[in-house]
Point group: C2
């Protein structure tokens, strides 16, 4: 029923499952190792002292934080008693001390004294857990939110996106970044009702997830609304603008501000291209293959050469961790096409 | 410290306070008698069986429901131990049986089995209690929400309205109705994230409060978004439209649908004009005095005569409980001015 897994220096028991589904009470997802690498990096940078791993499953994230970071207290919670049993066993196996909690997360968040760091990583949409987390997090605390409901966020299920995120999504080639921007928009809207302000300090995306780390401060400011904009998009020529123009469809609102706090990315090397792209405060990116296909261009140019060309023409340009064929640049699409032909 | 009050057939103890402020742990507000009359009316019409009076204070609403309605169970909750002590004493005095609860409301809502009727009546904004209530209410249950933060809802504090209700308010002569429409918009947005749908079935407004009764159903439908519209407004000629026009300012989004279920108002006589106005599905109303002042008209016409004139010209018209000088009509403002001169 259980097998011994290894992640970094940690050995731990995990249920034997061939396929991961929502119906499993507890599971370990190898795909998320990199996300956990990032978590311990961020915690080591920002040094929160009291941490909540809100849906701990096997306990792997809590145990890694206990092993790899210097924190005062880690509460590992899961609504499932099996998960807590397993987390207890795994903590013992790795000789780390965790405070275990077997509660409905929303009750825990309303009962417990505030945390410096709350990690929300549910199966599917995190949206219904954001408000309780906001009501619990300490001033200047960190809130990490994972979304895996990429269908709605990518605009494949726009009506679900509308309901969950109050946003009209856009299913185009930079939808992975838009997914993060939708999650940020929705989280900020929830926080503002509580007179709190959420500032994204780090975003990372894998094949099956989007993760956003926010700094949460008490604030009665409405500045955040200035960073929420609708996007007007023309699917024929791929042009877009935050101002209305004819023959465009309307999408959003999206958060349009910075995704990364540069003090967190300047020494960050766990994810290729992320450090580079974080230096460019640009909305969206270009998927070169998709653009070539769309405009029937047979460009043979290498992405690295294209980036060099753009830079020598005076543009900012970098690759992006959101897409292997993507480039992030402040060039407009019409000009970019000239560089591809 | 306490004095004996009377409301309908009920005698009950209430703290002696000259002025009602947020800092009082428990208070009784005579101004709300009419709102409670409406509550028992609605409960007698809709017959919910298990009721939560979420912030019961002296217990007056719970005791009135117990005396005046035929319900199975009433949970009277308050976070303040004094309030529960007082409610217990008052329930005994009136020989009614209540289930008493002395909890943080959000914890109660996440712990308890669902209710058929939840009443939220806080001092100030109800917005942070809506999500927990939504997560608890039974399918087809009734959610009654009171807002007393009329400054933000009336547009006197637009930035607070933006934060709490995610809405740009409009401080004009029909702001009392807009306040209800903002509260409805915000509540519906919160419900939609939980795959639930809130349909307003009754709205009543007093000098210091707005109350909305919603029917809550499970629904993955996005129909509700079609009833959320921005309003474009010209403060010079008081014209407005849901479509953009030049020289207008943008406000909202507002809920633009019906405020009353006619099956609840056809025999309703507790509030003057409310039954009449509920038969007209019209957005907004006209304040005749303010319009005459604005356009420097010295109209001497009686409101009742004006309504008769409009009706004989083929328009729908009625008075409105939102304003003693108000009329509700499907006439446009330009035409209305012709009738005033």
């Amino acid at each position: 029923m259980f097998k011994l897994e290894t992640e970094n220096s940690i050995k731990f028991y995990s249920p034997k499952n061939e396929v991961i589904t929502k119906s499993l009470p507890v599971f370990y997802n190898k795909e998320m190792k990199l996300a956990r690498d990032v978590t311990t990096y961020i915690i080591n940078q920002l040094k929160p002292s009291r941490i909540l791993d809100s849906m701990c499953a096997t306990g792997i994230r809590s145990i890694r934080i206990a092993k790899e970071c210097n924190v005062k207290e880690i509460v590992a919670n899961d609504i499932n008693p099996l998960a807590i049993k397993l987390t207890k066993k795994n903590a013992k196996l790795n000789k780390v001390s965790l405070s275990l909690s077997n509660k409905n997360l929303n009750i825990l968040l309303y009962e417990e004294k505030p945390f410096d760091y709350i990690d929300i990583d549910p199966f599917g949409s995190p949206v219904i857990f954001i408000e309780p987390a906001i009501s619990n997090i300490k001033n200047n605390g960190i809130l990490a939110i994972t979304a895996t409901d990429l269908g709605p966020l990518y605009g494949r299920h726009p009506s679900t996106c509308r309901r969950r995120y109050n946003c009209i999504p856009l299913n185009n080639y930079f939808r992975k970044e838009l997914a993060a921007r939708i999650l940020i928009y929705r989280s900020q809207i929830i926080a503002s009702s509580h007179d709190k302000s959420l500032i994204p300090v780090f975003v990372d995306a894998g094949q099956y997830y989007i993760r956003v780390y926010f700094k949460c401060t008490k604030s009665k400011s409405n500045k955040v609304f200035k960073q929420h904009k609708h996007l007007f998009y023309n699917s024929k020529n791929l042009e877009y603008s935050f101002d209305y123009f004819p023959e465009s469809t309307v999408h959003g609102p999206f958060y349009i501000g910075s995704l990364w706090d540069k003090s967190l990315t300047q020494n960050f090397n766990l994810i290729k291209y992320l450090k580079d792209e974080s230096t460019l405060d640009v909305f969206g990116y270009y998927d070169i293959h998709k653009i070539c296909k769309k405009f029937k261009l047979s460009s043979k140019i290498k992405i690295s050469t294209l980036i060099d060309n753009l830079k020598s023409s005076g543009y900012k340009a970098s690759r992006t961790h959101f897409s292997p064929q993507g480039i992030r640049s402040n060039i407009e699409i019409k000009e970019l096409i000239n560089h591809l032909t």
